[in-house]
Amino acid sequence: MYSLSFAPLVPVWLLAGLALLVLVAAGAALALQRGRGVLRAFALLALLFALGDPSLVREAREPGKDVVAVVIDRSGSNRLSDRAEQTARARAMLERQLASIPQIEPRFVEVGDGDGANDGTRLFEALNATLADVPAERVAGALFITDGIVHDMPAAAQALGLKAPLHALVTGRDAEIDRRVTLIDTPRFGIVGKTVNIRLKVDEKNGTGTGRLTVRRDGEVLIERAIRTGEPLELSVRVDRGGPNLIEIEADALSNELTTANNRAVVTIEGVRDKLRVLLVSGEPHAGERTWRNLLKSDANIDLVHFTILRPPEKQDGTPINELSLIAFPVRDLFQTKIKEFDLIIFDRYANTTILPMVYFENIVRYVREGGALMVAAGPEFSGTGTTLSRTPLAAVLPAQPDGRTIEEAYKARITDRGKRHPVTRDLAGSEVDPPRWGEWLRLISARASEGDVVMSGPGDRPLLITSREGKGRVGLFLSDHAWLWARGYREGGPHIDLLRRLSHWLMKEPSLEEEALRAATRGRTVEIERQTLGDNPGAVTITSPSGAARSLPLALDRPGLFSARLQATELGLHRLQSDQLVAFVSVGSDNPREFTEVLSDPARLRAVAESVSGSSRRIGREAGSDVDLPRIVPVRSGTRLAGGDWIGLRITDSGIIRGVSLSPLFLGLGGLALILGALIAGWLGEGGTRSWRRRAQA
């Protein structure tokens, strides 16, 4: 591009004065000499021109393009129904349209779901990142292809920092159908065995007004009832166990519903155990009794009720009762009226003399089968015939029967192969080596195991510790009363605290000690799956993602009894895991992902912020089919209207970038001199020549 520029050699007022003189002189020359005066006038003008020092300027200019950011919402909600297809079509059409406007540089950016965090859709963040290197004047506009549900909309339009229009092109359609569960009030904690109340509401658009609500706890149906939508309702749910209880609330789907992901809400209630009540019955005072007492009394979660049979009924002497510190053993209270209140009953070297009538043993058997827990720590009395518990009705739930022998020799208790997989005995300190690094015990009651899992063994592979399940309850049988030797540090002692604590808590159904368990946890998008089993091969775990897609994942052996797998989740929301009969749930992202709580597309949401920068928000999705109606894109150089019924405007500034400038002086130098001198000489020759030619003609 060329242009002319002047840089006068004399001040402007002088130049103006000279110009006036030149004009007068040139005018006089023309008037007096007519045709011949032209050359003289030209020479004067050329001289004046030279004083102005004109030069030719050449600018090396790059045509500047204005930037249009096109932010495309690829989040979960904008993939619902046929929104993904609408989005793709809109993008293709935009690409074509924008390519036909030469002054514009389009920048396309796609925004997916936030990484694990419950951020929702963050389009404005992406917009700012895209335009970070572009001066505000060179931004022609911003276009959003979205379903309108954006979670990082600035509260004030000024915060946007945009001087160009923002146009939202909204996918979806007006006649969308959706039903969703909205949680109003949910408890975070609950006491195990008590009920908690959850308040919620089922909202819908274009729905039927009534529906069915299903409530599940850890996959098992708790409540199923008909509901009216739009009305708050309250559910009572019993907290069943310690640790996280996953309550899943689901409303039935409408036909042609946008998504069923928000028909479901998950409430995680942390079950807090009330104090566990343990009844310890010691058959006689003995050296191991205080080990039990120390263990159970130091456990803050346990209320211990302890009875020791200090004097069996047959040992009566003449001591007056007021000199004895003895009370009657309240058998009826313990084993009849209040038996259900105990979480665990421990018989510690208990010999059944005549103290407990048979009917109470039958009560205990029933108590166990209905979900109670019983532990028998057997001493020498167990192998006898007279007073052994194995000759009472209790035998029905005992996993082993004594064969009458008591083995009295020093031996090291060993963890069996099954025990290495059992959470009660796995990784006990000292068991890493063989023989184990712990002290010996000196007595074992020989018995034949008939059921349950033998997790520890004594000399000759005889069972030492057996755990078993009986109906809904659990039974532990310790065939030695010598765990106290570990406590007393006999021959370096052993891990009695770990062993006995885990055993008693396993009996009381501590979830983290289950033999067969499927657990899952998330770290960001990574789902870590752990399968605890006593078996050899738990097979694969099936994972069902929120969209219903199921896949199978193999489990790899981690440690004995523990298998694990990892999964990178691609979807947010509640994943269901299944391995054999075990079901676990894990929520990727948050329990109730923001992305799916609101899914109804709506141009109105972005309207205010778009119009604050002279933009617009409109629906592009057609009511039928996945076609889109895209407005025309019009470059606007001036004017304030930047959107209309069927068009959207982009602000074009025609700005460019100057890369270099070259100056070529026109009148300074030889060319200018030649022109001025030429004109003067021509004038002189013209005037002189004419006279001499005349003179010659006269001669």
Binding site: S282, E289, R293, N294, S298, N322, E323, S325
Partner: protein, 198 residues
């Protein structure tokens, strides 16, 4: 049963009864460390200076000095005379003293921790059993019998029930070693049972 605390495995024994004889060589440091470990691991030691008879106010007997020297390297808790309501007085028999051959000697036991905030007995991590009892009443002499069951030593004092009482005291000490604070807890059992099922 005789025990050599420097050689025998102490862990097997719930109770050690250790009569003090002044003038005997002091046990070695290694032995006392074993005894210390025994006490910390849940063992129970009765030291008997057997000098109640010789005690005069303000003057330490040779036996007491001997015991003091012996225990100088052992981690002995703070002691107090057995309080009237101590669990030792009710572990089996209800008694108010621990007489042996003599009756006037004081019996010392570990200081009870202060009651917990709820006033329901001391707040403690475990069962909190005193690992040591020191007496000067020569308990063993009162318990000793010959082959026919007759007493070996005459008792000092006039009460005919003294020997019976010394035996009851002994039984309570054994019960304490075995059952710990069981009887102290039992005060709360009726209340606990009452609370159940509510």
């Amino acid at each position: 049963m005789g025990v050599d605390p420097s050689r025998d495995e102490l862990g097997l024994f719930p109770i050690l009864y250790w009569p003090i004889v002044a003038g005997r060589p002091l046990p070695g440091a290694e032995t006392m460390r074993r005894l210390d470990a025994f006490m910390k691991g849940g063992g129970f030691v009765i030291f008997d200076t057997r000098d109640a008879d010789a005690q005069r106010s303000g003057r330490a007997t040779p036996e007491a000095d001997h015991l003091k020297q012996m225990l100088s390297i052992v981690d002995v808790p703070e002691l107090e005379p057995v309080p009237r309501d101590h669990v030792l007085t009710k572990t089996f028999y209800l008694i108010d003293g621990f007489p042996g051959r003599y009756d006037r000697g004081q019996t010392w036991v570990e200081v009870l921790p202060p009651p917990g905030p709820d006033g329901r007995g001391p707040a403690r991590a475990a069962d909190g059993v005193s690992p040591i009892v020191i007496t000067s009443n020569d308990l063993a002499a009162a318990w000793a019998t010959d082959r026919r069951g007759g007493p070996l030593f005459p008792l000092q004092g006039s009460s005919p029930r003294l020997r019976e009482m010394s035996l009851r005291g002994g039984i309570n000490l054994v019960m304490y070693a075995l059952t710990g604070n069981y009887k102290a807890d039992q005060v709360h059992v009726p209340a606990l049972l009452e609370r159940l099922g509510q």
